[in-house]
């Protein structure tokens, strides 16, 4: 205060000499923030005539003297918009100047937690909001897929058999790892594919405890809140229409490096010479032998000459089944999507009505259709009462087309031999070896059985696999405001789904012929009797979902002076019932709807091996009826207090109980809670950084929960149909676990939100620390207690994680030509801090490099390997390390290598990931491109495994590069082929250091070109947007030199897709 007064004095003194001629007038007053009446210190006031300047003091007070009858007074302060006014002098009173907070002028972002909507500015928690524009950048039938690459902190994992989506990394080991999906107010239990993405207004990801802990025990994996479009009161009705078509290229079957036919045949010849096939040849089950082995057997038995055999085999050697896969199985997929909506309303009534239709054809000519109808209306009979009713109906149908190439197998664990053919020269479908030896199958046909051949390319025409579903979502809600500040909300949702998965194996399908043949009985006179009647086999699986969710919530909102309070509390109950039943009938005639009768009791001898007996399967699985009922009761409360718009304190608490645990465990549960603070620094008087008018700091602390549905507190048994005597029986399913409880995840979150002047650069930076306790993990237990695996699931593990989420948006140029950049940068890492790890046996911890491998002190996703010392120059044996010495003692390596003897490479899931989106626009045309990156992780590349090659016919192209003669060890690391098989040698090579690669990659995820055709803003002209969108455009850079795309692991990468479409609004 002293200094500013002193400065005033200096200014004042300086003016004295030039202000002698006119009378001196005093101008004084205060400068306030217009939004919260807080005095602004350091605001600068200038007077044009005199070029004088003065700054306000800490109380916002200013005082200056001018020698003029009128002045133009200007006032500006950092973080506030400028003010100016003409004043006639003298003034009778002081003046108060109110400056607008520029951050208040920013679009207010409102996020929804599913319980309330709150402005991001006042929130303490961590939210990521994806708005309509971002969501609609991508096309596609499902909503969540559109979040990829545009959502801060969300990891998408495209490797096979992995959970696809994680919020801030994995928070659990074995419990459910999917984030909770909330549709508007309630968790959604149906198939997410039932949601029409065109009905979605925005998606909010709740990341930290303060944001998510209101969801209690379901929030442990993060919460994704989908907010649908609603009617808008007041405006004119709007009719929207959109249509788009996407074409996706078929999977590249040549991506998987397969052994060549010539090499495969060489191996078969070699094994044949070793007598490897003798066992299978003489096996009473008549297991399938490949065509080459059959040819060799014929030659051996003198049924063919060597020359004939060599010629036949020579023909096979030149083939590659993958060309047939490419030519006859796959075609580009086409997705079409149409959506129509109409919305509008008045103060008292608003509505949103929509219809969506999707029509997809996949790579194998499978077809799917979806129709969604939605209606949502809110009416207010009185100003303090709102009633909402919503109804969404979805109908979907799909039919499976041709089999995928992985589904075409000779049966059992065998892969298709590489020289197979699907069609002959005339385009007729050819059979492949399936389930039994070819001579047996031929002989059976001669004996009067049905044709026993499997022709993959025509068989699917006789098999009808379809799915149809209807899903209904009904919402009613009531908001009653009373005593001015209170609102009572009652909400109820009913969700119902009916699904029918119907499979009709026609009379001509292989499946049906195989069953009829297997159960064919040879009578004493040699006559044939069919235990399974002729005709088709129909299998219907019906699933019924019924879920009720109800909520009663009281909220309080009060703004008075410097104080703003919002609070809510309520009770919630949910019940989810899933029922399913399976029906299988034989001898089904779809034309006249008749079925045949079968004997389910007799253990029939099988035609292929009369020593083997089987009962006619009652259904496809052992359980024909199932019913699951989950119930939850929860109580929750949440409150936030804001002082002067600057400081916010929030808290949230929730307690859940469910029927999973039994009453004792429910009572033991501790409520999950969170708290947080935030501080809008820019609103402080001392804040002067005008270049950054918005700066907010926040910190939160709290707990989320999670649960493993498959566990039980009690020792339980499961009932089954039919033991050896066809009596029902029960088997132990779980062992008593009275200490079963919710998993808990503690999250501490620090965040900074900022925006520069005019929002040229804005964004947020967050740092979080997670600590999971009571995590469900496998504790080792003596297998002697009666547990095969020697492992038992208990709440035993602890995990620590941390990470950084950065989001930066730059609007570098915003004129006719525009340039914007969005950068998302995420870092996430975790470590198991408590786990039962057996350090003496490292081999237990060598995973495929895709899934999780829990080891104390390491990330859940980790990659380790055996030390590699190259190949032995004399025999091509791979060399490892035993007790520090180079060794080829594979049993010792695979059994005795301790954990610390393994090489730790790093995580197998990228700790660093994100995307960089640039958008350029010129007038109505805009082009944007999104580049996604993942860094810092490793993967295990597949190579040849001789055990797999011999037994499963599953070869790898590395076979060609194997060690064959001394000197080869200089150029290759692929071990030589040995016989008899040495499993441990295969194991060692599979998990050796030499097969580990860096997985970092940068890819061009998509490019979008759009054109805004709007001619003018006239009310009769629609707004029309056209776009082209290309996705999966390829890898720009990757760390590995192999052809493998590490983001897809062993799967085939998604094909490139191109969409075009238009959006209109009238």
């Amino acid at each position: 205060m002293r200094i500013s007064r002193f400065l005033t004095l200096i200014f004042f003194c300086a003016y004295i000499p030039v202000s002698l001629s006119q009378q001196t007038h005093r101008i004084h007053g205060y400068v306030f923030s217009a939004s919260d009446y807080i005095p602004i210190a350091g605001a600068v006031l200038t007077v044009d005539a005199s070029a004088g300047k003065i700054a306000t003091d800490e109380d916002g007070f200013f005082e200056l003297f001018v020698r003029s009858d009128s002045v133009l007074l200007r006032c500006h302060a950092m973080g506030f918009s400028a003010w100016q006014g003409s004043l006639g002098l003298p003034l009778q009173n002081g003046i108060n100047i109110h400056l607008q907070d520029t951050s208040q002028l920013l679009d207010e972002v409102v996020v929804s937690t599913g319980y309330e909507s709150l402005p991001l500015e006042r929130a303490t928690g961590s939210f990521t909001k994806v708005n309509k524009e971002r969501l609609n950048r991508a096309t596609g039938t499902d909503v969540l897929g559109r979040l990829e690459g545009v959502t801060n902190s969300l990891t998408f994992d495209r490797r096979p058999s992995q959970p696809t989506m994680m919020v801030r990394g994995r928070s659990t080991i074995y419990a459910g790892q999917a984030p909770l999906i909330v549709l508007d107010n309630f968790p959604y239990y149906g198939d997410l594919d039932n949601i029409n993405p065109n009905d979605v207004e925005s998606v909010t990801v709740l990341k930290d405890a303060a944001a998510a802990s209101i969801w209690g025990v379901k929030a442990g994996n993060g919460v994704i809140v989908i907010t649908t479009k609603q009617g808008a009161g007041g405006g004119k009705p709007v009719l929207g229409f959109s249509a788009n078509t996407t074409v996706t290229t078929e999977p590249d079957v040549f991506y998987t490096p397969a052994i060549s036919s010539a090499d495969f045949i060489d191996v078969e010849r070699f094994l044949f010479g070793q007598g490897f096939y003798n066992n299978q040849e003489n096996n009473n089950n008549r297991p399938p032998l490949s065509p080459v082995v059959e040819l060799l057997i014929r030659q051996r038995d003198g049924l063919a000459t060597q020359q004939q055999t060599d010629e036949s085999i020579g023909l096979l050697a030149g083939r590659d089944i993958r060309s047939d896969f490419r030519d006859y199985l796959y075609e580009p997929a086409i997705n079409q999507q149409y959506a129509l909506n109409y919305r509008g309303g008045t103060d008292r009534f608003s509505y949103y009505v929509s219809a969506g239709y999707d029509r997809n054809r996949d790579f194998t000519d499978g077809k799917a259709e979806r129709l969604t109808l939605r209606m949502d209306q809110v009416f207010s009979p009185r100003p303090n009462l709102k009633v909402r009713a919503g109804l969404t109906y979805t109908n979907n149908q799909s039919v499976v087309g041709r089999p995928s190439h992985l589904a075409i197998t000779p049966g059992g664990t065998k892969s298709l031999y590489p020289y197979a053919r699907l069609v002959d020269e005339n385009g007729e479908a050819l059979p492949i070896v399936k389930d039994y030896r070819l001579p047996f199958v031929q002989q059976a046909a001669e004996s009067g059985l049905l044709d026993w051949m499997y022709r993959p390319l025509s068989d699917y025409r006789h098999t009808d696999i379809s799915q149809s579903g209807r899903h209904l979502l009904a919402d009613v809600g009531l908001d009653q405001v009373f005593l001015k500040d209170f609102t009572l909300q009652l909400k109820y949702r009913y969700e119902a789904g009916n699904d029918l998965n119907a499979t009709l194996w026609g009379a001509d399908s292989y499946y049906t012929r195989n069953i009829i043949n297997r159960f064919t009985q040879v009578g004493s006179e040699g006559g044939l009797e069919h235990a399974v009647p002729m005709g088709g086999i129909l299998n219907n699986v019906t699933g019924v979902l019924n879920a009720h969710s109800g909520r009663a919530q009281l909220s309080y909102h009060k703004l008075k002076g410097d104080h703003q309070v919002t609070a809510l509390g309520g009770f919630e109950t949910r019940q989810i019932r899933n029922q399913s039943n399976t029906l299988q009938v034989y001898g089904y005639d779809e034309d006249v709807l008749t079925t045949g009768a079968v004997d389910y009791v007799t253990n029939f001898p099988q035609y292929y091996n009369p020593n083997a007996r089987a009962r006619i399967p009652v259904g496809s699985g052992s359980t024909l009826f199932s019913e699951r009922l989950d119930r939850f009761i929860s109580a929750y409360a949440n409150a936030a207090y804001t002082y002067q718009g600057r400081y916010t304190v929030s808290g949230s608490i929730r307690k859940d109980a469910s029927n999973l645990f039994g009453v004792n465990s429910n009572q033991k549960g501790v409520p999950l809670w969170s708290t947080g603070v935030s501080w809008n620094v820019n609103k402080e008087a001392f804040y002067r950084a005008g270049w950054m008018p918005y700066l907010k700091l926040r910190a939160t602390y709290g707990f989320n929960g999670n649960v493993d549905n498959s566990l039980s507190a009690y020792s339980t048994i499961t009932y089954f149909n039919g033991n050896l005597h066809n009596q029902r029986y029960a088997a132990l399913r779980s062992y008593p676990n009275p200490d079963l409880r919710w998993e808990k995840s503690r999250i501490i979150n620090f965040g900074v939100d900022f925006a520069s002047a005019n929002r040229m650069v804005s964004g947020s930076l967050e740092y979080y620390v997670k600590r999971g306790t009571d995590l469900i993990g496998d504790a080792p237990i003596d297998p002697t207690v009666g547990i095969y695996s020697g492992l038992i699931r208990r709440n035993i593990a602890e995990m620590a994680g941390q990470g950084i989420d950065i989001e930066l948006n730059g609007k570098w140029i915003d004129r006719y030509f525009g340039w914007e950049t969005d950068l998302i940068f995420n870092y996430n890492t975790n470590k198991l801090t408590k786990y039962y790890t057996d350090a003496t046996s490292g081999s237990r911890y060598l995973g495929s490099g895709i899934g999780i491998v829990p080891i104390e002190g390491q990330p859940l996703y980790n990659l380790m390997s055996y030390a590699w010392r190259g190949l032995d120059g004399s025999n091509g044996n791979p060399l490892g390390v035993v007790d520090g010495e180079t060794s080829a003692d594979y049993a010792a390596i695979t059994r005795n290598t301790p954990l610390e003897g393994l090489i730790y490479h790093g995580p197998s899931l990228s700790p660093v990931f994100g995307s960089l989106l640039n958008k350029f626009s010129w007038k109505q045309l805009s082009i944007s491109a999104n580049v996604a990156f993942r860094f810092g992780h490793y993967f295990r590349r597949p190579s040849i495994a001789y055990g797999s090659l011999f037994n499963n016919w599953d070869g790898h192209a590395d076979f060609a590069a194997r060690w064959q003669r001394p000197g080869d060890e200089q150029r290759t690391s692929v071990p030589s082929m040995v016989y008899p098989l040495n499993n441990n040698r295969d194991q060692f090579y599979r998990y050796a250091e030499v097969l580990v690669e860096r997985a970092s990659s940068v890819r061009l995820q998509d490019v979008r070109i759009s054109y805004d055709l709007t001619i003018g803003r006239h009310r009769y002209f629609p707004t029309i947007g056209l776009f082209l969108y290309a996705r999966n455009l390829g890898v720009l850079w990757k760390a590995t030199k192999t052809a493998i795309d590490p983001d897809y692991g062993l799967g085939i990468p998604a094909g490139r897709s191109l969409s075009m479409g238009l959006n209109m609004e009238f």
């Binding site: 009473n284 048994i717 050896l724």
Partner: protein, 449 residues
């Protein structure tokens, strides 16, 4: 008023929570508590009857594996059991040890849980049968484990020799310890004696234990212990109540499997775990065994099938299909009785018992009766018939072990695989299967040498 209603509703909701949340999530699940649940557990044939220890069948001398087949075998348990290695049960979590102890847990859950079910006049019969059945299963499991994982019974050292882990309660937090061999056999006998009065003479199904089954196992156990007097007593009791044998003359050798599942001789049904090395064509019948069936012996045709491609397949399982029968059948009791009589010096009586059995095994016209001159010859004959009649039932291993100390009948087995010769160890109890390493690591119990 509205708020009052709501508050009341809330209070009501909370009060009714316990019932609301007490419903079980999955209808297919149950907490085992009623007699019906116990009976259903006892009927879990998949667990209790169908995966019996069987690596010792590969290790014994009734089968051989050719080099090509041994080389082609993927399964280390079969390969290593065949050559009596130390690394046998370490590749799969499902093995002869874990299968047995998983079945034991079922039995113990019943033995423990049945005490919480009231025994009333109305349910007494079922209650007794369930409890007796669980005790029988427990004894059977212990007996089979002792044949693989403990030394042969020798009364002079049984008090100090290591037996198996005797878990008698379902609690999974109790540590496993190896009981002395004597206590192991005592437990088997005690469980069976406790089961005897509870079980009906015949069970409704052959997969359920019966009094006959308990008598049969008591006889088998006593024989294994060298207690011929007791064995004879139990065999007598058994055969007095149930002497019926099948006449093999009525069997048809032309069908795939001449014997039916649950046939007249099957008193208690169980089958061996299907190690790949157990079945044809990997496993071929020992040619000496095959040739030992004399002309007119119907078993040669009924038990075996000669393949043109070479090798003989065993197909005489009382399981009626694939899978070796390891249960208790009447024919075994004839052989126990015969042997015990001979061992007690009553060799002529013993040969009469043998005649009764063989009469049903030989073609009617060709059977003339067993003709031996002295006790030793009689003993040799009965042991030979034991091997021939009970081939591939899992009993040969025990016979090899108990005869190993008798110079007259000791069996020496050598095998040659890929040019390397292996000999079945005989000293100090001979070859005893090693306990899975996983168990040794987690319990610290003593490994077999």
């Amino acid at each position: 008023m509205k708020y009052l209603t709501l508050s009341l509703a809330t209070v009501f909701l909370l009060l009714s929570c316990e019932n609301y949340l007490a419903v079980k999530p999955n209808k297919g699940l149950a907490v085992p508590e009623g007699l019906g649940d116990m009976q259903a557990l006892l009927d879990a044939t998949r667990v209790l009857n169908e995966s019996r220890p069987s690596a010792h069948i590969i290790a014994s001398d009734n089968l051989y594996i050719e080099d090509t087949d041994w080389n082609a075998l993927f399964d280390m348990t079969s390969k290593n059991a065949y050559t009596w290695q130390r690394d046998v049960f370490n590749d799969f979590d499902t093995n002869d040890w874990t299968n047995a102890y998983a079945a034991l847990l079922h039995a113990n859950v019943i033995v423990d849980g049945i005490n919480n079910v009231d025994r009333t006049a109305a349910n007494a019969k079922d209650w007794d049968e369930v409890k007796g059945g669980a005790l029988f299963h427990r004894a059977m499991i212990f007996y089979e484990l002792a044949q693989l994982f403990a030394k042969p019974y020798d009364a002079s050292s049984a008090a100090t020799d290591l037996g198996i882990v005797l878990r008698l309660e379902p609690a999974i937090d109790q540590p496993s310890m190896r009981a002395p061999l004597q206590q192991t056999y005592k437990q088997i006998i005690d469980d069976l004696k406790a089961a005897l009065p509870l079980l009906p003479m015949h069970a409704d199904f052959a997969t359920r234990p019966s009094k006959l089954a308990a008598l049969g196992l008591l006889a088998r156990t006593s024989l294994t212990m060298g207690d011929f007097g007791q064995a004879l007593e139990y065999a007598d009791q058994f055969l007095e109540a149930n002497p019926e044998l099948m006449d093999y003359n009525a069997k048809d050798a032309s069908v795939a499997n001449p014997f039916e599942q649950f046939n007249e001789e099957v008193i208690y049904h169980s089958t061996a775990f299907g190690w790949p090395g157990l079945s044809y064509p990997s496993a071929k019948v020992d040619t000496i065994l095959y040739r030992s069936y004399a002309a007119g012996d119907l078993r040669r045709a009924l038990f075996f099938r000669e393949h043109a491609s070479g090798g003989i397949e065993f197909r005489g399982s009382y399981n009626g299909a694939r899978g070796l029968f390891t249960g208790i059948a009447t024919d075994e009791l004839y052989l126990i009785r015969a042997e015990c009589l001979v061992r007690q010096g009553r060799w002529k009586e013993g040969m009469k018992v043998l005649d009764e059995l063989l009469k049903m095994r030989y073609a009617q016209e060709s059977f003339t009766g067993v003709d031996v001159d002295d006790l030793e010859e009689a003993l040799g004959r009965v042991l030979e018939e034991r091997r021939k009649e009970l081939a591939f039932r899992g009993l040969r291993w025990t016979d090899i072990r108990r005869l190993s100390t008798d110079q007259r009948f000791a069996v020496a087995i050598t095998r040659t695989v890929n040019g390397q010769t292996y000999q079945l160890p005989v000293v100090d109890g001979g070859y005893v299967f090693p306990i899975p390493l996983k168990v040794i690591e987690s319990t610290g119990i003593r490994q077999n040498k």
